[in-house]
């Protein structure tokens, strides 16, 4: 059934179709509609779940951890400061191998107070052991929530489904809402290997000496490394049932491109439009929109940048004192594989400043005009 819905409601529909059993959430702009709709769904019986209206994001994630450990499928959503407050518990969820799925609405970090988008909130959680998916349409949000549960539960690793504040969270688009019966076939109920239950009394997460700790983390990494193949497989399964493939990256005209743009989130769709315009003007340019950030899709990235002469990464985030984060990651992925081609790192759109097709035109023009990057970072649209 096709519906015109906002990005936030796409998350709610995803959680509803996944038949999340326990939801614990705390309100934060611009996430509120996600949990408002879910609380209505719980109230009117559309969704048979317990909705715990916690007093903070920290408790939201703690409650999800408890519920997931008890064997329930759990969901939460947050943004920015809320995600930062959860930080400790994100480690707990991943270290505890709990397949929680969470929506994060990318909102810049304060101060100064802001509600507009950039990616520093979610990318600051890079090393917590969560998988991260960056969406660029409301359709992709619904679909990705379902895939995320499937991959998470197979690997016992939590997932974050990320979307841009306002540019997606509050933007209405036509979404083909998957049919519940078909979703049930794609995503059967959660069956954990271990659960907290008096019928099998175990201690979870007790004091772990150097003799054991390292293997717990080694195994987490091993399972994380299984994710790319599993995302590919579940993405194809999804395509068979629903007609939409869910991959790790979304390449556009990369095969013959001399310059490949590397983008993410809604800016990735803007780049797509910009590539069309520039192709008409004779530029040999392509766009590699990054969908999955963790685990990093090494193979896909190497494959789609292999033939490019130059790479231009546009980051809506920054690691202060270094580069944009996608830029760093991309370089680490291609280093030592094939030619050492110049990677131009650009930063644009922090705190919700618009990224438009002309931003990408500027990126490409700069990249063409130089043999090598002029400095560490190319700033787009900043008032210097």
């Amino acid at each position: 059934m096709k519906k015109v819905i906002m990005g936030n409601h796409a998350l709610s529909y995803g959680a509803m179709l996944a038949r999340a059993q326990v939801i614990a959430a705390y309100p934060i702009t611009p996430q509120t509609q996600v949990v408002e709709l879910l609380s209505e769904m719980c109230a009117d019986g559309t969704l048979d779940a317990k909705f715990i209206k916690v007093e903070s994001e920290h408790s939201a994630m703690a409650a999800c951890i408890g519920a997931s450990a008890a064997g329930a499928r759990t969901f939460t959503a947050t943004s920015s400061q809320g995600l930062a407050l959860m930080h400790e518990m994100l480690h707990w969820a991943a270290g505890g191998r709990l397949p929680i799925v969470m929506g994060d609405i990318n909102r810049a970090m304060a101060p100064g107070w802001t509600i507009w988008t950039d990616q520093n909130d979610s990318l600051s959680q890079r090393d917590t052991g969560w998988m991260q998916y960056y969406c660029a349409s409301n359709q992709e949000v619904v679909d990705t929530v379902l895939q995320a549960y499937k991959v998470s539960e197979a690997l016992s690793i939590p997932s974050m489904v990320v979307l841009d504040a306002f540019a997606l969270s509050h933007t209405y688009e036509v979404v083909d809402i998957p049919e519940a019966a078909k979703v049930d076939a794609y995503l059967p109920p959660f069956k954990p290997r271990y659960r907290v239950s008096p019928s099998d009394p175990r201690a979870f997460g007790g004091l772990t000496s150097p003799e054991h700790y390292m293997e717990l983390r080694y195994n987490l990494q091993l399972d994380m490394e299984k994710a790319p193949a599993l995302i590919e497989k579940t993405g194809r399964e999804y395509e068979k049932i629903f007609g939409r493939y869910l991959g790790q990256v979304d390449p556009y005209l990369c095969d013959d491109a001399e310059i490949v743009l590397v983008t993410s989130g809604t800016a990735g769709y803007t780049a797509h439009v910009a590539v069309d315009e520039m192709r008409e003007a004779g530029y040999k340019v392509g766009n590699l929109r990054m969908k999955v950030f963790r685990p990093f899709p090494f193979e896909e990235v190497r494959k789609y940048t292999a033939r490019a002469k130059k790479i231009a990464v546009v980051d809506r985030n920054i690691s202060y004192g270094h580069h944009g984060i996608f830029s760093q990651e991309l370089k680490s992925a291609i280093y030592g594989h094939g030619d050492c081609k110049p990677v131009f790192g650009f930063i644009a759109g922090l705190g919700g400043r618009d990224i438009t097709p002309s931003s990408f035109r500027e990126v490409v023009d700069t990249t063409i005009s130089l043999d090598h990057p002029a400095g560490e970072i190319g700033w787009i649209g900043v008032k210097k």
Binding site: S68, M89, D200, G205
Partner: protein, 299 residues
């Protein structure tokens, strides 16, 4: 033929806290959990944040316990327990009692927000604070449960703790939860009775159990139970219960209220105190005791 009287046991013999665990000698927290679980039984899940009991049950992959434990972050005992309860219910287990088992630091200080949240929502959990009056697991640092006058490693004798203990029981009563009680490990039957009563009630229940810590109090291990008795008899830690934040009931009224001096003398943490400070402390105890008696009269 013999008329031998069979010994009558006042507590079930089943032990869900196994021997050989990592508790210190004379640990009150160890006894507290033993008595609690005698009442709650096997169908119990414990959520344990950072506290002595995060270690006592044994290192991975061991556990001395006959019930499952979910070790959780320091400030999340209540919220994790809420989640476990919801998760069990949604997967077909409505029966199991879910307990947050936390120390005083995890309750009075860092976990207070989550506890308040759970209590306000009246989440169906039993929250138990075993109170040894400081951060003992990290090496005896003061918490807001540390009594006035006490030495800890962060309140050295020259600057001993100058503030009274936070009144956590009043805070919980202000949440109007269906049931709360104080208890001391020196009165096992009382701990048992209150835990059993709590088990039979739905909603947030709060038990505050006094748990002497010989290691941190610089007292003799063999005095732990004695201290647990003295603290009730001198009315520093009265035993009472409250229903819905309103109905207060004393569950043990000392026949004669003892002065606090002897209790203080048994503990190295109070050794530095001068008579004038002890006098102020005694007055504070008297004041609080009179206040409690009034609350109990008004029932």
């Amino acid at each position: 033929m013999s008329k031998e009287k069979k010994m009558k046991l006042t507590l079930p013999t089943e032990e869900l806290v196994g021997p050989g665990n990592l508790a210190c000698q004379g640990c009150g927290a160890n006894l507290a959990l033993r008595y609690l679980l005698k009442a709650l039984g096997k169908k119990t899940v414990l959520c344990i944040p950072a506290c002595c009991w995060a270690v006592i049950d044994g290192p991975f992959p061991h556990s001395c316990m006959g019930v499952p434990i979910y070790h959780c972050a320091f400030e999340t005992a209540a919220s994790t327990a809420t989640g476990v309860k919801a998760g069990l219910e949604m997967t077909g287990d409505a029966e199991t009692t879910v307990v947050a088992w936390a120390g005083d630091g995890g309750t009075f200080d860092i976990g207070l927000q989550a506890l308040s949240g759970a209590a306000e929502r009246n989440d169906d959990i039993i929250y138990v604070c075993y109170d040894n009056e400081a951060y003992m697991n990290t090496g005896i640092q003061r918490s807001s449960a540390t009594p006035m006058g006490a030495w800890t490693t962060t309140t050295p004798v020259k600057f001993f703790k100058d503030e009274p203990k936070k009144d956590i029981d009043a805070i919980m009563a202000a949440h109007r939860i269906p049931y709360q009680a104080t208890a001391s490990i020196a009165y096992p039957e009382d701990v048992y009775k209150k835990a059993l009563k709590a088990k039979g009630i739905k909603g947030t229940r709060f038990l505050h159990i006094y748990a002497p810590c010989p290691t941190g109090w610089k007292s003799r291990p063999e005095d732990a139970v004695k201290l647990g008795r003295m603290v009730v008899q001198n009315c520093i830690f009265p035993l009472f219960e409250v229903e819905h934040g309103e109905t207060y009931k004393l569950t043990m009224k000392p026949s004669t209220k003892k002065p606090i001096d002897d209790y203080l003398k048994l503990q190295g943490r109070f050794r530095h105190l001068k008579p004038e400070t002890i006098k102020i402390m005694q007055e504070a105890v008297d004041h609080e005791w009179a206040r409690l008696l009034k609350l109990c009269e008004n029932r």
